[in-house]
Symmetry: C2
Subunit: 243 residues, 2 copies
């Protein structure tokens, strides 16, 4: 059976302006691969309601899961929860369990639980909360969309709250063979191998080091026996130039 | 007049599997901001022809420019040029000027110019070549799509070959004010300021350091006078907590 599929939607002007280098995509990609969920597409859009709503509708209709990152804080540019409600035609309001979590948190911190902070308790109707062990304000799952914070430490923690609840497939395994030949010399035998092992994928990532050309060949698949057989063939084909 | 708009399409299984952390998005985002071209969306798709062709069609129809990264090497998984040809209904074949560049390069290197390497001279009809000062194999521009390599050093060099040929708008300026108050205390006055200065955008990026809460407020816009006026207001509002 094929693995479940996923998309990620990164929400944030700061990524598109080049101010911030996104870290969440790389983290989620690695964790999904380990879980046996195939990440098929990532989109990055601005803090712009029509763009967010349109992307949510397309991605949630095309993949088994959608993971979002960003836009769930207390400020005016945090519009993700409202956009998710709009995309699914769900009502949205302050929810009592989320409000209580935040009220207790700000009470412990001796900080005022004001109107801006109350916005973080706005949760679309029918959603399940996602635990936030770092800074309390919860994420949520509505339908197949998992809404998480953009701050990397919080995003990472929320991913670990969500993943155990999802049914993964077979983890995608990978092996890397380093070949110190020009990629153009590797291409033909590699292409033949890729046509022979149709359930594996073969990626070629060239490098140049100390004046020598080479490529890392990454072989991926869920069947360990085929993976090792293909690695053995590649090592045999390139002899001393492969490792 | 509004700035030109752009999208980026990152092509590569290695990003979606979490093996490689993409660097090109962050680089391009920063350079476009400096050039006065507004990056509105980024998509990352796998080495999968239907996904690449569909994304190319949507993005090239929606934005003034599309910049692609990845999939133009000599191996079987390098399918970007063929996908661009397909998306635009253009013919594709080995082109003499690209072939000559590569032939001279491999001759200098004492490497065989074989069939796999010849694939890198396949250019869609009607395209303009993009210079590659790093490793010779060219990128190309077809219509409003700029096709570049995924290897970061080559991508970076190709961006510098392309950008001087494009008409930019007014560079997006930004200023950051660091406020050591909880984001929930900043939210209301910041929201009022955002409604007052409608041509500027105000982003709030929270942090926690040495047990204190704070946020970096990033104000962006093309009018320097308004930018400084808004910064002055923010500094006044938060007194000793702002810097």
């Amino acid at each position: 059976m094929a693995n479940p599929t996923a998309a990620m939607l990164v929400i944030g002007d700061e990524i598109l302006s080049g101010r911030t280098r996104d870290a969440n995509m790389h983290h989620l990609a690695g964790r999904l691969t380990e879980t046996g969920i195939d990440l098929k597409e990532v989109r990055v859009v601005a803090d712009d309601a029509p763009a967010i709503v349109a992307a949510l509708r397309v991605l949630s209709g095309s993949f088994d899961h959608v993971f979002t990152s960003g836009g769930i804080g207390p400020t005016h540019d945090d519009i993700t929860a409202d956009c998710v409600a709009q995309a699914f035609g769900a009502a949205i309001d302050v929810r009592e369990d989320a409000r209580a979590l935040l009220a207790a948190h700000y009470d412990r911190q001796g900080m005022e639980f004001n109107a801006a902070r109350m916005r973080m308790a706005r949760i679309p109707e029918g959603a399940t909360l996602i635990d936030n062990p770092v800074s309390v304000a919860p994420g949520f799952t509505l339908g197949n969309v998992h809404v998480m914070a953009g701050v990397p430490s919080v995003f990472t923690a929320m991913v670990e709250s969500v993943l155990p609840k999802l049914t993964g497939g077979e983890p995608l395994l990978s092996q890397t063979i380093r070949i110190t030949r020009g990629e153009g010399d590797i291409a033909e035998p590699l292409g033949l191998l890729a046509r022979e092992y149709t359930t594996l994928t073969f990626g070629s990532y060239p490098f140049q080091k100390d004046g020598r050309y080479g490529a890392n060949i990454v072989i991926r698949g869920t069947e360990q026996d085929k993976l090792f057989a293909a690695c053995a063939r590649l090592l045999e084909l390139f002899g001393d130039d492969a490792a």
